[in-house]
């Protein structure tokens, strides 16, 4: 009698153990499948808005991170911490992090080399006049206002320049407009001397919209990587605190 009870108990226990182990095993397997101890996992908080691998967000506002120069990305992360750029969600995310870790995050996204989608804005939807003015500003600048072309600093192909100058292609129009507007109202700042602030101050709002619009209609060249340096040195009157290497080219 006692032995029968004991065997019954043993049987129950065996069942419990086997069920529990299957359960535990499946969990462990589930973890192994999805979790990797790497930077992609550590930057989930970023890619939730900036898109998978930082390829740009779905709603046309969050800019692409992938492939931008690491120095530029690091400067932006610091700017949020230091109140030079304002977006509560970003500030709260970067506040607890150290410079070393922000540098690692910046480098992670800079190293990602992903294909670009076609421009979000089709040029047929914009007036020819706006496009003409935008193209002129981007490629030639405005000599009368002493405004250099975008290409003077952002690379001949506008794909950015190592290590601190971002590319201007493949960005949503809303984002470009918001950034130029923020510079206009001193909401966005770069390190002093702030050359972008000076450029924006010399142009009327219509021109800023025109150049942003033209940029957002452009196709990314097949080689989207940032240039290693700018092609011609800047005039002595232009100094950029965030990208001191631009001025070092002067004789």
């Amino acid at each position: 009698m006692h032995i029968a009870k004991f065997l019954l108990k043993l049987g129950k226990l065996a069942w419990l153990i086997s069920i529990a182990s299957v359960f535990y095993g499946s969990q462990a397997w589930g973890q192994g499948k999805s979790f990797k101890d790497d930077m992609a996992e550590r930057t989930r908080a970023c890619t939730a808005c900036h898109g998978e691998q930082g390829r740009a967000g779905p709603d046309g506002y969050y800019p692409r991170l992938a492939g931008k120069p690491a120095g530029y990305l690091f400067n932006q992360l610091k700017n949020f911490q230091e109140g030079k750029r304002h977006y509560n969600l970003m500030t709260r995310l970067v506040d607890p992090l150290s410079d070393a870790y922000l540098q690692e995050i910046a480098q992670h996204f800079a190293n990602l080399n992903l294909p670009y989608p076609a421009p979000a804005m089709q040029s047929e939807r914009v007036s020819a006049q706006v496009l003409k003015r935008g193209k002129q500003l981007a490629l030639e600048g405005d000599a009368a206002k002493d405004v250099p072309a975008c290409t003077a600093c952002h690379g001949a192909k506008l794909t950015g320049v190592q290590a601190h100058v971002p590319g201007l292609l493949g960005l949503p129009l809303d984002y470009l407009n918001a950034q130029l507007g923020a510079w206009q109202t001193h909401q966005r700042k770069a390190r002093q001397p702030d050359c972008m602030k000076e450029v924006v101050a010399r142009l009327p709002s219509d021109d800023l919209v025109a150049v942003a619009t033209w940029l957002s209609t452009q196709y990314m060249p097949s080689d989207s990587s940032p240039a290693s340096k700018i092609s011609a040195s800047l005039k002595a009157s232009w100094q950029c605190g965030s990208a001191p290497e631009l001025s070092k080219l002067q004789p």
Partner: protein, 440 residues
């Protein structure tokens, strides 16, 4: 009813006398530094190098620079805004700048500010500066801190710092209001070591109650904005910041009584331990202050707090009626949201992933009766502090753009009713209040 002939006149005199005495008492109370004997400074000549380095450590223990520095402005130059229910207060410049800072101050003036909450010019400081706690700092430590501050570069903020009389709301911006507040809620004092306790315990108590000013956040604030006693760690909602600083003594909230000294110290050193992560304002405290504390001081504070928790007899706020009674539909929405957005990191049984994502099952933070911190975490996501000890933390994305109030309330209610949890429901209104106040 008949009164004696001079009744009203006598009454008037009586009340006038009472009023004059009261005013006199408040005035005397607020100027105790003028008639109390002051301890002499330790070293009136050039400070020693050891004194300076000691002072630097003390400044870090007190997290002084965190409040006295505005984003993107020079360290210690002040200008950081603090929102209070009574208006805004800006921190002051504590660099040796002659015009804005402590350039003309002597060690005696600095001592008076810490001990009596008074500026060099006699102005009564607002209690946003936690002098209820700094009053316990010894003269020796005060002098060391001052010596360290004197070694900073003299700096100014880009824009002038608004005065309290301009930034606080009427009538709280007047010296009279601050004087009355001080008479009600502040008295200068010193830390008196308890003979029955160990040196370590006393060191911990001195730091936690004084320089560390833990109770400035971890105690409830009354209607006048006054925090609890310096050794009241029963937890409090930080007004306007909207984070709940949990009770350090209750079994249900932080449960320090059951944790080892090493685990408690580890949370302060690295920003996390086996069961908890410092988030929100505490992550800031860990990043700027506690990760830099000397190991012995961390252990001292852990020893003191653990014993306070072990001997705590107060009961936590616990309302039986608030125990979960949500509709099935609400709960199944929560369960669906959990599967879609949470499960990948926190796992199906809420067990989390070791060394990356915290377990939610049996996590005290999930069960706090005040759900404020949970709402903050889901709306804004966030990283734990990156510390020398834990330099590359994993983070949580914000859900403010992807989930509605009702969905967030449902998933939090789901968490609070799973895995044997029994905590109150979170309502969409609670989520909405924090979303509306904090914005994007």
């Amino acid at each position: 009813m008949m009164f004696p002939q001079n009744f009203w006149r006598n009454m008037a005199w009586l009340w006038l006398t009472v009023a004059v005495l009261l005013v006199l008492a408040i005035v005397l109370d607020n100027h105790r530094d003028l008639w109390e004997t002051q301890p002499r400074p330790q070293n009136t000549y050039t400070p020693l190098a050891t004194q300076i380095s000691q002072g630097q450590t003390l400044l870090q223990i007190g997290n002084c620079m965190d409040c006295h520095t505005e984003r993107g402005q020079p360290m210690g130059a002040g200008g950081r805004a603090f929102e209070t229910p009574f208006g805004r207060v800006y921190s002051s410049n504590i660099t040796p700048d002659l015009a804005q800072g402590l350039g003309t101050w002597q060690a005696d003036d600095f001592w008076r500010a810490l001990h009596y909450g008074k500026s060099k010019d006699g102005r009564l400081l607002t209690p946003v500066f936690p002098y209820k706690h700094t009053t316990l700092i010894t003269r020796q430590d005060s002098d060391a801190m001052f010596a360290a501050l004197k070694t900073l570069a003299a700096e100014k903020t880009q824009k002038p710092i608004p005065k309290v009389s301009e930034s606080l709301d009427w009538p709280y911006n007047s010296g009279v209001a601050i004087a009355i507040w001080r008479s009600l809620f502040f008295s200068a004092g010193t830390y008196k070591p308890q003979d029955t306790k160990s040196n370590e315990w006393n060191r911990g108590a001195y730091l936690a109650q004084g320089l560390g000013h833990c109770a400035a956040c971890h105690s409830p604030r009354n209607a006048w904005g006054a925090s609890g006693e310096v050794n009241d760690f029963s937890g409090g909602l930080m007004p306007l910041v909207n984070w709940y600083a949990p009770s350090l003594v209750s079994v249900q909230e932080t449960g320090l009584a059951q944790q080892s000294i090493t685990e408690i110290a580890l949370l302060l050193k690295s920003g996390r331990n086996a069961t908890a992560i410092a988030s929100g304002p505490m992550a800031e405290v860990v990043k700027h202050s506690t990760q830099h504390w000397p190991e012995a001081d961390l252990r001292a504070v852990a020893t003191y707090l653990k014993e306070e928790a072990q001997t705590y007899t107060g009961s936590p706020p616990f309302n039986k009626a608030s125990i979960l009674k949500s509709s099935g539909q609400f709960l199944s929405l929560g369960s669906k949201i959990y599967e879609q957005h949470c499960e990948q990191c926190h796992q199906a049984q809420g067990q989390g992933i070791a060394n990356a994502y915290p377990a939610l099952a049996q996590n005290r933070a999930i069960l706090l009766s005040d759900p404020t911190n949970l709402v903050q975490a889901v709306l804004y996501g966030g990283y734990p502090a990156a510390t020398a000890h834990h330099p590359r933390p994993f983070g949580m994305p914000p859900f403010i753009l992807t989930l509605e109030d009702r969905e967030i309330a449902a998933v939090l209610t789901h968490l609070r009713s799973q895995w044997g949890h029994q905590a109150s429901e979170v309502t969409p209104l609670q989520v909405n209040r924090i979303r509306a106040l904090q914005g994007r």
